[in-house]
């Protein structure tokens, strides 16, 4: 069928909250946009997420965090990626993340944070633009 490189995106929910409706909506939208979504599901530790991303050779990791733990989880993921020589993998995220935290998260190297209410088309456009190399 389709040849050439397909975008592979790991979608996961780190931490303890179990609200996965939003992340499933995003995963489905990316699928419908022609991407291969590896859905890792709930309660993933940063180490699990980074290992899965490396084994699956994904272009990007999308994280949904609604628990308020974003300031702990994102830095851990970025540091594990760096340790494993995988900083080239794009990390983006979404969820209930206060505006005041966005700048700090971006300074860690997080590509983009999509807060609640974002149209899935914005996420697709972002990935299509950013991952064209």
């Amino acid at each position: 069928m389709s040849r050439g490189r397909k975008k592979r995106i790991l979608i996961a929910k780190p931490g303890l909250d179990g609200h996965d409706r939003g992340v499933k909506v995003v995963a489905r939208a990316l699928r419908n946009a022609g991407m291969e979504v590896i859905y890792a599901g709930l309660h993933q530790t940063p180490l699990q997420i980074v290992s899965a991303a490396i084994d699956e050779d994904v272009d990007a990791i999308g994280l949904s965090i609604l628990s308020g733990a974003h300031n702990t989880i994102f830095p851990k993921i970025m540091s594990f990626l760096k340790d494993r020589g995988a900083s080239d993998i794009l990390v983006f995220g979404g969820g209930t993340i206060p505006k005041k935290d966005l700048e700090n998260l971006k300074s860690l190297g997080i590509g983009e944070i999509f807060t609640t209410g974002t149209d899935t088309r914005a996420i697709i456009d972002y990935l299509n633009t950013t991952l064209e190399r």
Binding site: R3, R31, V37, D57
Partner: protein, 328 residues
């Protein structure tokens, strides 16, 4: 950092079990990128020793959950394990939702386990086209066991038989009677039939139907007669799991049978024969479409067929004569 390593360097690292190189090489092969054939030539001498286990069955039968337990058994035996899990690609968008990792988490931090999710990318037969090559990459990585889990299969997605040495077909209670079990296709490729979710109602009847259907077959002296093993692979308490040890033992028995009777030679022969057929088909198609590209002839041919000035077979014959037999 990406793309810096040469293909040769990545293969060298693969042979030293480097996960990132394995992962990148799999992507390269899956996307049929430029060095695809070169990679496989370099990898090939380092393959052929692993045990390849195929797991198939309908969506929701419990393939991934069972695979998770089997990985544990193979790890206990001291084997490194590679796992390929295939899920379908969308026929509309070409995208995919690969969700098998959710049930393959017990070994997520075990360096001796490498799991890769793949989309079928329009390839029929329950696998993806690249699966053949990906198994070899996993073998070259040093895995003694490679498990291939098909997408949710119906009656006819039987390609796993061409790849696997031992083939498990999962069924669940209530999926049909002995007539279903006697149909050609997926039920015939089983070396071991796994009746999973054997704690559900109707399991006893299903077991009788399956065994009845098997004993209606005729087997030569010394030939492997498929076994039925009942399992419960999902349980809230470990002590409620059933049949996993028996299944692991039955797999070992089948492996011993393959080696003892040299039946493994036939399995290997069939695999290569099947693979050569696929490669010929792919390469011929590439040559022909390359020849047609930019000439506008493909459209002309298609339209002449629709308008019934020509028929498909005559067109193919003409195209083959033009682009293949005369060497373009």
């Amino acid at each position: 950092m990406k793309k810096k390593l040469s293909t040769d360097e990545m293969v060298k690292r693969l042979l030293a079990s480097d996960r990132r190189s394995a992962a990148r090489l799999i992507t390269l092969v899956e996307n049929e990128m430029d060095d695809h054939h070169k990679v496989m030539s370099l990898v090939y001498p380092h393959t052929g020793k692993a045990m390849i286990l195929g797991i198939t069955g309908a969506g929701g039968a419990g393939k991934s959950t069972l695979t998770d337990h089997l990985i544990g058994k193979f790890r206990e035996q001291g084997n490194k394990v590679g796992v390929v899990v295939v899920d379908p690609s969308s026929p509309f968008s070409g995208g995919a939702f690969l969700g098998d990792r959710i049930r393959l988490q017990s070994h997520s931090q075990d360096d001796g386990v490498y799991i890769r999710s793949m989309a079928s990318r329009g390839y029929l037969g329950g696998l993806s086209r690249a699966t053949y090559d990906v198994i070899r990459i996993m073998e070259a990585m040093g895995n003694e066991v490679v498990i291939v889990e098909t997408l949710g299969a119906g009656q006819d997605e039987v390609d796993v038989i061409h790849i696997a040495h031992t083939c498990l077909v999962l069924v669940t209670p209530g999926m049909g009677d002995d007539i279903q079990a006697m149909k050609a296709g997926i039920m015939e490729i089983a070396d071991i039939i796994v009746l999973n979710k054997a704690d559900l109602d109707g399991a006893d009847r299903s077991l009788r139907h399956l065994q009845g259907a098997l004993t209606a077959g005729s087997f030569e002296e010394g030939e492997w007669m498929p076994r039925v093993v009942s399992t419960v692979s999902a349980a809230s308490k470990p002590e409620d799991l059933q049949g996993i040890d028996e299944l692991a033992a039955t797999i070992a028995e089948h492996q011993a049978y393959l080696r003892k009777t040299r039946a493994i030679d036939q399995v290997k022969y069939n695999r290569v024969e099947q693979e050569l057929g696929l490669i010929f088909k792919d390469e011929l198609q590439k040559i022909i479409f390359k020849g047609l590209k930019g000439t506008g002839k493909k459209r002309e041919y298609i339209e002449s067929i629709i308008e019934q000035q020509d028929d498909p077979y005559s067109v193919v014959k003409e195209v083959l004569n033009t682009y293949l037999l005369t060497g373009e």
